[in-house]
């Protein structure tokens, strides 16, 4: 029997069968590959965090890449926690926090019509912080996330324990123009952030990404990418928006450093009771570390 391949019924049945088969194959493959893909995504995030602290830069030369990253991560990433808008630690898994969802809240804060509405939104914020320890250095790593030109751009900024000096930074993007905006993901761009300061005259100042910003005399700026103006500006905005939300935490930490410095001057200069000097030795160590960094 010869089928009439032009009849309506045949066409409908045929397309239905084809679509069902294709959907089945895709669903199967997607389910089968999902664990592997999610592992890749988690690994990528671990690598980004490590790279922001200038660790694991030789990773592409290693054979057992994933093992190497996991080892390095468990060795150096000593702590992570989630902050609320006041800079207090709240419950939550920092690694699992969806940066995009948090960015949406930050965006809504900026768009809020009244201060009350902004505050109500701000209280929903969950801000992850990752702590990285390299020898006696303690780094706090803060994320940032925002829209680029074609898709999202994001990154991690590792700040030294003076909560001012940037130790390292790394950025990535979903689909910026190769050779132009995409250069934010390459060392010549993100290495510019090393040693830059997040404050000017005692007040918070984010990093400006502008033409000619990378001069050594300017502690608050880096060079933008020629031909990648919109990506540069978007990244600058994203960094400022996120670090701004972390200011409560920065202030708490800076106040603690100042208090430690005062204690240091008051009591460590002369012999005092054992209890106090013991405490001060610890603080004194912090102080030494800080001096070391600023060199």
């Amino acid at each position: 029997m010869k089928l009439n391949t032009n009849s309506n019924i045949y066409t409908i049945v045929y397309t239905t069968i084809v679509v069902v088969i294709v959907a089945g194959v895709l669903a199967f493959v997607s389910t089968a590959l999902k664990p592997k893909q999610q592992e890749n995504i988690a690994l990528e995030k671990m690598q980004s965090l490590l790279r922001s602290a200038r660790l694991g830069e030789d990773v592409s030369a290693r054979d057992n890449k994933s093992e190497y990253i996991k080892d390095l991560y468990s060795k150096h990433m000593t702590n992570d926690f989630v902050l609320n808008w006041e800079g207090n630690v709240i419950e939550g898994e920092a690694f699992e926090i969806d940066l995009q969802a948090q960015y949406d809240i930050i965006k809504q804060i900026a768009a809020a019509k009244t201060p009350e509405a902004a505050q109500a939104r701000r209280e929903r914020l969950e801000l992850p912080v990752f702590v990285c320890t390299i020898g006696d250095k303690v780094l706090n790593i803060f994320p940032c996330y925002g829209p680029g030109l074609w898709g999202p751009v994001w990154g991690y900024i590792a700040v030294e324990d003076d909560f001012e000096t940037i130790y390292g930074a790394i950025f990535d993007h979903k689909g910026e123009t190769p050779g132009l905006g995409a250069e934010i993901a390459h060392p010549p761009f993100y290495n510019q952030f090393v040693g830059k300061k997040l404050s000017r005259d005692g007040a918070f100042k984010s990093i400006a990404i502008v033409k000619g910003g990378g001069q050594a005399s300017n502690p608050n700026g880096v060079d933008a990418i020629s031909g990648g103006t919109i990506t540069s500006q978007s990244l600058e905005r994203a960094i400022a928006m996120w670090l701004n939300e972390y200011q409560a935490y920065f202030n708490i930490k800076r106040a603690a450093i100042t208090a430690a410095d005062n204690c240091n001057e008051e009591c460590c200069g002369e012999e005092t009771s054992n209890d106090e000097s013991g405490e001060c030795e610890n603080e004194g160590q912090n102080h030494e570390v800080k001096e070391h960094h600023t060199k």
């Binding site: 089928l3 391949t5 032009n6 045949y10 066409t11 045929y14 397309t15 084809v18 679509v19 294709v22 194959v25 895709l26 493959v29 997607s30 590959l33 592997k36 893909q37 890749n40 995504i41 690994l43 990528e44 074609w150 898709g151 979903k174 689909g175 190769p178 050779g179 132009l180 020629s226 031909g227």
Partner: protein, 207 residues
């Protein structure tokens, strides 16, 4: 099997320079060699296997919906490649990002299915698809070579032009920013077509 099936796509009937198909992606993914090569391989696999599959079922496809059916099959292979790259070559998948998905819209694939696979047996269709993908890839690699070398001074991400040549380091050389932008890729395609027509006189139209 006719030798022309696997010989023509490389030179005499090259998808980009002669058939002028798939030019859009040739402009988009040729900034760096690595991306161009992965793109070329992906397109080769997709054209080959979707041509073969369409050829297998060519006699049963209802004529009125054949384009949609072909599109579903092409999309199937593209999504499969995308998923596998995400699972096993995450770096490359990230670099190519949206362009893998856009293989679906590559005119070469639909062009070969319509022009060849619908009227030929599965094996020649497979060969035709693979050969066309490779012919396309060949041009992609040539363009990417020129663009990466003159636009970024690198090949496969390795610095080729000595750092000391650059003006920033007191030399005389500067990367050409125009080469990175798509219009320059179009000019390079034009030059390749020009060169090919100068060699192959039979491609020239009569005045």
């Amino acid at each position: 099997m006719d030798k022309k099936i696997y010989k023509n796509p490389f030179f005499k009937a090259n998808p980009i320079t002669v058939l002028v198909l798939g030019v859009c992606s040739a402009l988009a993914v040729t900034v760096q060699l690595k991306g161009a090569i992965v793109m070329a391989l992906s397109v080769t696999v997709v054209t080959g296997f979707s041509s073969m599959l369409v050829s297998l079922i060519r006699n049963s496809i209802p004529n009125r919906v054949r384009i949609i059916i072909q599109l579903v099959i092409v999309a199937l292979f593209v999504i499969l490649i995308d998923q596998f790259l995400k699972a096993y070559a995450y770096d490359v998948s990230k670099q190519l990002s949206v362009y893998i998905g856009l293989i679906i819209t590559n005119c070469i694939i639909m062009g070969r299915i319509e022009a060849f696979a619908l009227g030929n047996k599965p094996f020649p269709s497979l060969v035709d698809g693979l050969a066309n993908g490779m012919g396309y890839g060949m041009v992609l690699v040539v363009i990417a070579f020129i663009r990466e070398l003159f636009g970024s001074g690198t090949l496969f991400g390795l610095q080729i032009i000595p750092q000391s040549w650059y003006m920033a380091n007191g030399g005389f050389y500067e990367n050409n920013g125009l080469v990175i932008l798509p219009p320059m890729a179009l000019i390079i395609v034009g030059c390749i077509i020009w060169a090919q027509r100068a060699v192959q006189k039979e491609l020239q139209e009569e005045q």
